[in-house]
């Protein structure tokens, strides 16, 4: 395991930070102050839309136009929340539920599949393995949005348009996940353990589920997190394969609301408050799982 951690997470969070912490604290130099100020300015830039969203979600429609955008006016947050949740008999909650379902179940499936594929690519020697690997890498280079129309044509031919499957099935193949799992299995699951299990009479399926999966948990969490994000953020595919608004994910729902806000300014507060509500789960997920996304990106950079 030590080998793995040096390879995968070694460059990320903990050792790196402690390395710098060892350095003696220097007195505040002008360079330090200027650099920090520049960084704070950049941080403000990243926060601007978020701050505006938070302030705007507390305002009445009239105040949205008349009060200063980066501060509070009369607080109408609860009323705004109400407009979000009563919209068309609670369709917003349904959109959130759909997003959670697509992203939750989809990324769970994608993670399992990626683990199995990564495991076989790392541990089994079969004809054409390298060719297959190159092929999958090629697959990474064709972006999802370019595949959206072809996927639509495919789903249309098999009659899955406007079903949950239309969003769910295409999200199962995580090429990034396969790569990460392959690297991780190769370095963290010793051949001897698999051999020993085989000698003891364990079947291949059992070995995979009871031994391999347990040894690669950190990689699995990372793959899960990144597929969760990419499915949650998915927009183009749902836009073209789902007509029924009751099956929409929240991204698509908010987009359609934003469009109708053009003709009805009163909807703006609903769009803003809905956006706030829809981003909270992901931001929490991110803050809680910091260690994992940092190590995931590190692995990507070292690949």
């Amino acid at each position: 395991m030590t080998h793995v951690s040096s390879r995968l997470s070694g460059a990320s969070a903990s050792p790196a930070f402690s390395r710098n912490a060892v350095q003696p604290r220097r007195a505040t130099s002008p360079a330090r102050v200027i650099l920090t100020l520049v960084m704070v300015a950049l941080a403000l830039y990243f926060l601007i839309p978020v701050l505006w969203m938070i302030f705007a979600s507390t305002k009445s429609t009239a105040d949205l136009n008349s009060s200063f955008g980066f501060w509070f006016a009369d607080i109408h947050f609860v009323q705004n929340l109400k407009t979000v949740f009563v919209l068309q008999d609670g369709i917003f909650l349904r959109w959130m539920g759909n997003s959670l379902l697509y992203a939750g179940v989809g990324s769970l499936g994608a993670t399992l599949i990626a683990a199995a594929a990564g495991y076989s690519l790392a541990k089994f020697h079969f004809a054409g393995r390298d060719a297959l690997l190159g092929f999958i890498l090629g697959g990474v280079l064709i972006p999802a949005t370019v595949l959206a129309l072809p996927t639509y044509i495919l789903l249309d031919r098999v009659g899955l348009i406007n079903t949950y499957w239309a969003v769910f099935l295409p999200s199962l193949g995580s090429t990034f996940g396969v790569f990460l799992c392959r690297i991780y299995v190769a370095s963290s699951v010793p051949d001897e353990i698999i051999e020993a299990a085989r000698v003891d009479g364990a079947g291949e399926v059992r070995i995979f589920f009871t031994i391999v999966l347990r040894m690669v948990v950190p990689a699995l969490v990372t793959v899960f997190l990144f597929s969760f994000i990419s499915i949650w953020n998915n927009f183009f595919l749902p836009l073209i394969v789902l007509n029924d608004e009751r099956k929409w994910p929240v991204t698509l729902g908010l987009y359609s609301l934003q469009q109708s806000a053009q003709s009805d300014p009163d909807i703006v507060r609903t769009v803003v408050t809905g956006s706030l509500v829809s981003t909270i789960p992901l931001v929490i997920l991110f803050l809680v799982l910091q260690r994992y996304w940092r190590s995931g990106l590190t692995a990507g950079a070292l690949k």
Binding site: A11, P49, A117, L141, V146, F236, T251, Q262, L302
Partner: protein, 282 residues
């Protein structure tokens, strides 16, 4: 392995075949526009049409201009921030990193919607501030709107790229820098002559992701399109595909354009990957 292969082949390989197949046909509505439309084999007709289509060239040129400007600015920002964080000269480092990464956790469409509100006069505090000091404030004018879109992507992806480069920087052995410092190299010199060359693979990787991202530009302009006529249905190649397929039902031609975008993306990626491998083998 099998399940992944199945999914991979079904949703990565087969669609491409379908797209290629579909791109050889054309839907033609019969006569008066009544009744069934006729599917007609046109061979490479859709491709010759694509290569002579000024709308497609305009969309492609726009994305090219966008990429040439936005990608370097974003990566420069990301690299600068990563170096600053790596130098340990910044206070509250971890907090600032999380803030920079925050936009990545916000779905692209939502980010675009939020910025859209910040571009519209009336609601936007930024526009009214600019108006107060008499600065130009029309984010949606024909010339400005492309850069307003670029701002959304820069906002969204700088932190993500920064973390990738930062992670690569942190993985470098520290003793090289000590040695350089002993030899009298200043912080700038160390960053320029040692750190940047060593993390070049990570920078190229972020460049690869960014180029792919640029070529798929879709949801940001689509969101801004509701606000201004200056973003048309054919603003980017991907929007053009969407419009052709679902606005005008010209699936064959849409597929051909899709195939062309895929091919261009693929070639661009291969070029960057080659650079990456060349650096790696040195």
């Amino acid at each position: 392995m099998l399940p992944f292969l199945l999914i991979f082949v079904t949703f990565h390989i087969i669609p491409i075949f379908f797209a290629v197949q579909e791109s050889l046909f054309r839907q033609q509505s019969s006569g008066l526009g009544l009744g069934e439309s006729v599917r007609q084999f046109v061979g490479l007709g859709n491709y010759t049409r694509a290569f002579g289509d000024s709308t497609l060239y305009a969309a492609g040129g726009r994305v090219l201009l966008y990429g040439v400007v936005q990608v370097p600015i974003m990566l420069f920002l990301a690299l600068g921030m990563a170096l600053a964080f790596d130098s340990a000269l910044v206070h509250a480092r971890q907090f600032l990193q999380v803030v920079a990464f925050l936009p990545y956790a916000i779905p692209g469409v939502i980010g675009a919607i939020l910025w859209a509100f910040l571009y519209v006069p009336g609601i936007s505090p930024i526009v009214s501030l600019l108006q107060d000091i008499g600065a130009p404030s029309d984010f949606l004018s024909p010339r400005a709107v492309l850069w307003s879109i670029a701002n959304v992507s820069t906002w969204q992806w700088t932190g993500y790229n920064m973390i990738i480069i930062f992670a690569a920087l942190q993985a470098l052995p520290r003793d090289i820098f000590e040695a350089a410092r002993v030899d009298g190299a200043g912080a700038w010199r160390v960053a320029w002559s040692i750190k940047i060359p060593l993390v070049l693979p990570a920078i190229l990787l972020t460049a690869l992701f960014s180029i792919i991202g640029t070529l798929q530009l879709f949801s940001e302009p689509l969101v801004l399109k509701t606000l201004t006529g200056n973003v048309t249905y054919n603003y980017t190649p991907n929007m053009m595909v969407y419009n052709l397929a679902f606005g005008t039902n010209d699936t064959g031609y849409a597929s051909a354009v899709s195939v062309v975008i895929a091919a261009v993306t693929f070639i661009a990626s291969i070029v960057v990957l080659r650079l990456l491998q060349k650096r790696g083998s040195q």
